[in-house]
């Protein structure tokens, strides 16, 4: 068992796990023909079959059954706060499967020139009362039963009255905010706590206006919407669900990373000394002190940030996103690419931190402006 645990501990180092997840992602959700070819060659499309569902569910269950034997992992996994997250892992895969299964079935039908499955749905209508209300009533009762059993079985994770002088270590946000909390590690609070959540919400609201592709309306399918689906899934699975899982299972005291089977050592020492871009350039590269003029000091950060948002849009419009640019026109494409770049800035910032210990590209603490 030990080698297995060590293997998992190494594999779940967030640096490694996120890298693996990001690079294998396009093979699971192929966004172009090349990835699609490999998706079929590696038989990854089996994931969306009945056999795939059973295999993944069994695999996950086995992992948690084995994991619960371990004293360290048991503490994390059976904490009343975290039990739902274990459930979330199963549920997210299950619902992904439900839609992707129908999508891949329809893709097959469509590629042979047939109509999608939903086309044959009966046209006849059902009544709200009694048909719908009845079903809702049954689900209500079932949910009540589940909640009752749950609340009897697991104590509410309440703690002592809040005390501003003593912050629990680690202090974890509610599970649905763990993605944001993870983001806060890499960004200034006003960005990660205010600007990005706003952009996320408005970005989600903008989707129906940006994605006007009529293909697949009313039925599941992947082939003709692969870019849209994979971009969305990237943000949802990697940058939200995975970060929640990391925050739940892998963040320990002092907000250090711990493998699931690792002892939560408060004194775990991780050298994390971080420096700003201006310090890297002026002190390490030029061997001079930081200039006292703020603008001169941060000029390189401004160049990088503005460059990122000014160079990439036209570049992408000419290359990978050409089709989208032609479809959406200047304004729509501008909004789309801005949202996309914002989304990608999170993993970029994470890697900059991990590789270069970079804290902020632009750091003007004098005016609370850090990027």
């Amino acid at each position: 068992m030990e080698p297995f645990k060590n293997f998992i501990d190494v594999l779940t180092q967030p640096t490694l796990m996120l890298t693996l997840a990001m690079f294998t992602f396009p093979f699971f959700f192929p966004m172009n023909d090349w990835f699609d070819k490999w998706n079929r060659r590696l038989r990854l499309n089996l994931l969306w079959t009945k056999a795939g569902l059973i295999a993944v569910i069994i695999g996950l269950t086995l992992f948690f059954v084995v994991g619960v034997q371990d004293a360290e992992f048991r503490l994390i996994m059976l904490k009343p706060d975290n039990v739902p997250i274990v459930g979330l892992i199963f549920l997210v895969y299950f619902f992904m499967w439900v839609s992707m299964k129908q999508a891949s079935d329809n893709d097959k039908l469509l590629s042979t020139g047939e109509k999608p499955n939903e086309y044959h749905d009966p046209d006849e209508k059902v009544l709200v009362w009694p048909d719908l209300v009845y079903v809702e009533f049954i689900s209500l009762i079932l949910c009540m039963c589940l909640l009752l059993v749950w609340s009897i079985g697991l104590d509410a994770p309440l703690e002592e009255p809040a005390n501003p002088a003593a912050t629990p270590n680690p202090s974890k946000a509610p599970w649905y905010f763990l993605g944001l909390q993870e983001m806060l590690v890499y960004f200034d609070p006003w960005l990660a706590g205010v600007v990005f959540p706003t952009i996320i919400i408005f970005g989600l609201m903008a989707i129906p206006y940006l994605d006007k592709n009529p293909e697949g309306s009313g039925y599941y399918q992947f082939k003709n919407r692969r870019l849209a689906i994979s971009i969305y899934m990237f943000g949802w699975i990697i940058l939200w669900v995975l970060l929640i899982i990391i925050g739940t299972f892998l963040r320990g005291p002092n907000w250090n990373f711990f493998g699931p089977f690792e002892y939560w050592d408060i004194h775990k020492l991780e050298p994390l000394t971080n420096i700003n871009l201006s310090e890297i350039i002026y002190i390490k590269l030029f061997n001079t002190g930081l200039p006292s003029n703020i603008l001169v000091r941060e000029i390189f950060g401004f160049i990088v940030v503005f460059g990122y948002f000014l160079v990439f849009p036209p570049l992408l419009a000419k290359t990978v996103l050409k089709r989208i640019y032609l479809q959406l026109g200047n304004f729509g494409y501008g909004v789309f690419v801005f949202l996309l770049l914002c989304m990608l800035s999170l993993p970029i910032k994470m890697y900059l931190r991990w590789i270069f210990n970079l804290k902020y590209l632009i750091a003007i603490p004098e005016y609370f402006f850090n990027i």
């Binding site: 002088a165 202090s171 806060l184 005291p253 907000w255 250090n256 994390l272 603490p365």
Partner: protein
């Protein structure tokens, strides 16, 4: 009433209409326009009164009867109660201040993380303040060196009172990034 209300539905069933048939002719006008309007006025007044009352009560919350706020300035005893090279966390819970004495003098650090305001812990072995929320680390001096905290911890005004005790005044803060730590009141020479 119920029989009448169901009428359109039955009609629809029998005539197999696909479109909904709510509209003119399906609901008879039973309420007089005049009384409807006056009822509407009553309803609006009631609604406004209830909402107004509700928000007044909410506003009331912002003015509590008792405020448990520790004083902004306080005395913490004579300097020789503080050992050289030690971080004193005695006043963390009560006043939100760490008192640190080095070979030259004493300074008072704020216990509020400059990232998002959690309270870091002093780790003696690692000789650093470490924030449990997003992992910011501060040196004994208050300088930030790891994690996302954008600037050093703030220092409070520290002076000698007339009675030989140290006086901490939290209403005056000194920020490193603004070059205020060199202020004579940010550091007590003993």
């Amino acid at each position: 009433m119920p029989a009448e209300a169901e009428q359109p539905l039955q009609e629809k069933k029998s005539s197999q209409q696909a479109t909904a048939s709510v509209g003119e002719g399906t609901i008879k006008e039973k309420v007089q326009r005049r009384s409807f309007i006056s009822w509407l006025a009553v309803a609006w007044v009631a609604f406004a009164a209830a909402t107004g009352g509700f928000f007044t009560m909410i506003l009331r919350i912002f003015f509590p009867n008792v405020l448990f706020e520790p004083p902004q300035s306080f005395k913490i005893g004579p300097p020789d109660e503080y050992e050289i090279g030690l971080v004193d966390i005695r006043w963390q819970a009560k006043f939100g201040t760490w008192i640190i004495r080095d070979s030259e003098g004493i300074y008072a650090l704020s216990t509020v993380c400059t990232h998002l305001g959690c309270t870091p812990n002093w780790l003696e072995n690692e000789s650093k303040f470490k924030c449990p929320c997003h992992g910011s680390g501060f040196r004994r001096s208050g300088i930030n060196f790891e994690g996302p905290a954008p600037r050093p911890l703030e220092r409070y005004r520290i002076v000698m009172a007339d009675d030989g005790q140290i006086l901490i005044d939290k209403s005056k803060k000194f920020q490193y990034e603004k070059g205020q730590w060199s202020d004579p009141e940010a550091f007590l020479v003993v």
